[in-house]
């Protein structure tokens, strides 16, 4: 039953992804490798679309992945399943607010999650680079984007637009 699997996988994402929408990508990559519901190339398309539509990227990409896997009902199931764990946690935390934020175990847990999220992001960045995108043009564009960020961190949209325009020009004048 695909819907049960979807609920299970996206509930896990909602429960275990820390630090913003892009933190869900390693899990989505893992799903694509385990179940093959969508290819890695489709995943990059999904992330791209999720980033240029309004709304939180992590939720958009869940909606899209659910849609790809099991149609509109799949997208509803995936989206709700991903938010459910934090919905429960928000209600619990709202009640216990501040009581435990100074607790030593809670503080160490939060501190440990930082390097782990960092490693998760780097690993998925490397995995994405390893796919068919890996060529000299991709590397140049990536370096340019990263260099642009050194001077000052811009809006997400800024990188998307620059990269989209560059991509369109490269494909138009120099078919790969």
């Amino acid at each position: 039953m695909i819907y049960l699997l979807l609920i299970y996988e996206f509930f896990k994402i909602g429960l275990f992804s820390f630090g913003g929408g892009y933190a869900t990508i390693p899990f989505l990559y893992n799903i694509s490798e385990t179940y093959g519901w969508y290819s890695v190339k489709e995943l990059t398309h999904m992330i791209a679309i999720a980033s240029i539509t309004p709304g939180p990227v992590g939720i958009n990409v869940a909606t899209y992945a659910g849609l790809k896997t099991a149609g509109v009902l799949g997208s509803i199931v995936a989206t709700i399943a991903e938010i459910l764990p934090s919905f429960i946690l928000v209600i619990i935390v709202s009640k216990l607010l501040k009581k435990y934020s100074e607790n030593f175990c809670v503080k160490s847990l939060l501190e440990t999650l930082k390097p782990i999220s960092c490693a998760l992001l780097i690993s998925v960045g490397i995995e994405l680079l390893k796919t068919e995108l890996f060529n000299i043009k991709a590397l140049i564009l990536l370096s340019v984007l990263l260099l642009l960020s050194i001077k000052s961190k811009k809006d997400t949209i800024f990188y998307m637009v620059i990269a989209g325009v560059c991509g369109a020009l490269i494909y138009l004048f120099n078919p790969l």
Binding site: S17, L120, L146
Partner: protein, 179 residues
């Protein structure tokens, strides 16, 4: 504030939320602190920190915190449904037309380029965490061990989080005992 009103406010917030979840803080500030004066700046920042330290999507988390504050459980549910309403419809619509356009060379180019930008954004978001943490021996070793577990041993993200967060807390507890 009636639930319908709360819902409509979050529908609007979801619709103008472009460029990642972090943009939501200034939007909420404008809606709830400046315009309606029902949530103080301090509370908002505290909700934001909490939303970030909980698992899940930051923008959804903070919306639910505010919904809960204003209307309890049904408020949290209403805020959550409101904030994903417009994005959900956008994704369904865009996904259904994307396949038609994917044969177009320019669209292929744009998707390729945006795909590269996504990799850059993932790297930058890792860099953000790197910059905002105390980079000591503890940080570096947990970071390197997790990276090796992921890339070489191909452990699943969930397993890596469970193993290394447990390890991290144990190390911290031992460190405190020795002091």
């Amino acid at each position: 504030m009636p639930l319908l009103k709360l819902f409509l406010i979050f529908v609007k917030i979801g619709a103008i939320l472009l460029g990642g979840g972090y943009v939501i803080l200034p939007i909420l500030q404008n809606e709830f602190t400046e315009k309606r004066k029902i949530i103080s700046q301090n509370d908002l920042v505290e909700y934001f920190a909490l939303a970030q330290s909980l698992p899940g999507i930051v923008a959804a988390n903070i919306s639910m915190f505010i919904g809960y504050r204003l209307h309890g459980k049904s408020g949290a549910l209403t805020a959550m449904l409101g904030v994903i309403f417009v994005p959900f419809i956008c994704i369904i619509l865009l996904a259904s037309v994307l396949n038609i356009f994917l044969d177009n060379r320019i669209v292929q180019g744009i998707m390729w380029g945006v795909g590269i930008a996504v990799i850059a954004l993932i790297m930058l978001s890792a860099g953000e965490i790197w910059k905002n943490s105390k980079r000591n021996l503890f940080f570096s070793s947990i970071f390197l061990l997790s990276l090796i577990a992921l890339l070489i041993f191909k452990l699943s993200p969930v397993l890596v989080i469970i193993i290394f967060s447990t390890l991290g807390v144990i190390i911290k507890l031992l460190g405190r005992c020795r002091k």
